[in-house]
Amino acid sequence: MAHAEEQQHPAAAQNQPAAGQQHAAVAGQPHIEGQQHPLGIYFKIWGLLFVLSTASYLVDYFHFQGYLRWTLIVVFMLLKAGLIVAVFMHMLWERLAMVYAILLPPLLLLVLLWIGASEGDYTFFTRGTFFGAAPTASAQHPAAPAQHK
């Protein structure tokens, strides 16, 4: 069955061009297979990743603090990750069955993130209570994550 599938594939691709195969058809290459896209999009994303990396470096360089720092860092991080997965790893052009199989399970990590955060908070609190005075301002409390110096 899988073999027949293989043979049917080119015909199926012509009948129902998926987004990725449309690209390939535009490129007009003699032997089209797999993920074939114009080079331009890669260079654009490459440039964009450089810009975003520079931006996140500048967040540190200019000593942005508090919520502004965190919003910027997380936004740049997620944008970079999204661009790499979508374009460089070709997720943009895969069938949804695979996209969801790979991208949905990591959402479970949000639970772990939440557990880790509550546990960290609690441990910080108990350490402050049982090992000496209340936590000093110099200690980095999670509520104020950007107190650097």
Binding site: A2, D60, Q140
Partner: protein
């Protein structure tokens, strides 16, 4: 025993799109990932498991950092370099980030030229990717040496603050560096296969009887981009926090 007759639909079955496509793909015969070679699907599943490993590291680092009452060493200062008499914060890490992104760029070009059957260009870009990866590992080795020898950072403590800094740092960047190193080795192997024409003659690899083809370049690329992807998160939560 009579063999059941093999029948054919005679025409390609329709591939549904959207939600219907997901249900149809998953509920059909043996093969859920329709247009993806097995190696690529397996690489994605491996990367998914690796995602969980790295996420566990990063989340445990977050927990440890949130729970310490001792000030955390400031990464901006710890990873500063003095260039031309001026101390520039985090500059080494920034350069490493740009190198790894560039290696991702060259990797994507290698995949593209591979599918165009351009052996020489594919080889060159694969080798360039490996070289950038090796540069990254080299800079990481430099960073580790500086931290261990000059700053006295150990997994169990350091002179700058919270003891957990060392263990988190060595474990997370060490694991990532190992991934990059393994990637460099495999990039070189794939590059040699490409140049030798193994993928054009469909010569089987040394661990498999399956025929070689240019999809292995894309599968290699997935691994390499993942290494870059992990670095994006390490850069944000370890170095910029």
């Amino acid at each position: 025993m009579a063999q059941p007759a093999l029948t054919s639909t005679g025409e390609p079955l329709p591939r549904l799109e959207g939600m219907h496509g997901i249900v149809a793909d998953w509920s059909s015969d043996q093969r859920a990932f329709k247009n993806v070679p097995w190696g690529k699907a397996m690489m994605w599943i491996f990367l998914l498991s690796d995602t969980f490993i790295f996420s566990s590291f990063l989340i445990s680092y977050m927990t440890v950092r949130m729970s310490t009452t001792v000030p955390w060493p400031n990464p901006s200062e710890v990873f500063a370099l003095t260039i031309g008499g001026k101390s520039i914060p985090l500059i080494l890490i920034a350069i490493m980030t740009f190198i790894l992104i560039s290696s991702s760029g060259t990797m994507v070009l290698a995949v593209n030229y591979g599918y165009r059957r351009d052996r020489v260009k594919t080889f060159i870009f694969l080798l360039l990717t490996a070289a950038l990866g090796a540069t990254f590992v080299g800079m990481q080795a430099f960073e580790w040496t500086k931290l261990i020898v000059e700053e006295g950072v150990r997994p169990w403590g350091n002179p700058m603050g919270a003891a957990q800094f060392g263990s988190s740092f060595f474990m997370i960047t060490g694991f990532h560096g190992t991934h990059v190193s393994i990637g460099v080795i495999f990039l070189i192997i794939v590059a040699i296969k490409v140049l030798r024409g193994d993928l054009d003659t469909q010569r089987p690899g040394f661990l498999t009887g399956r025929k070689g083809n240019y999809e292995i370049v894309e599968t290699m690329g997935l691994y390499w981009h993942f290494v870059d992807l992990v670095w994006v998160f390490i850069f944000a939560v370890f170095y910029l926090w």
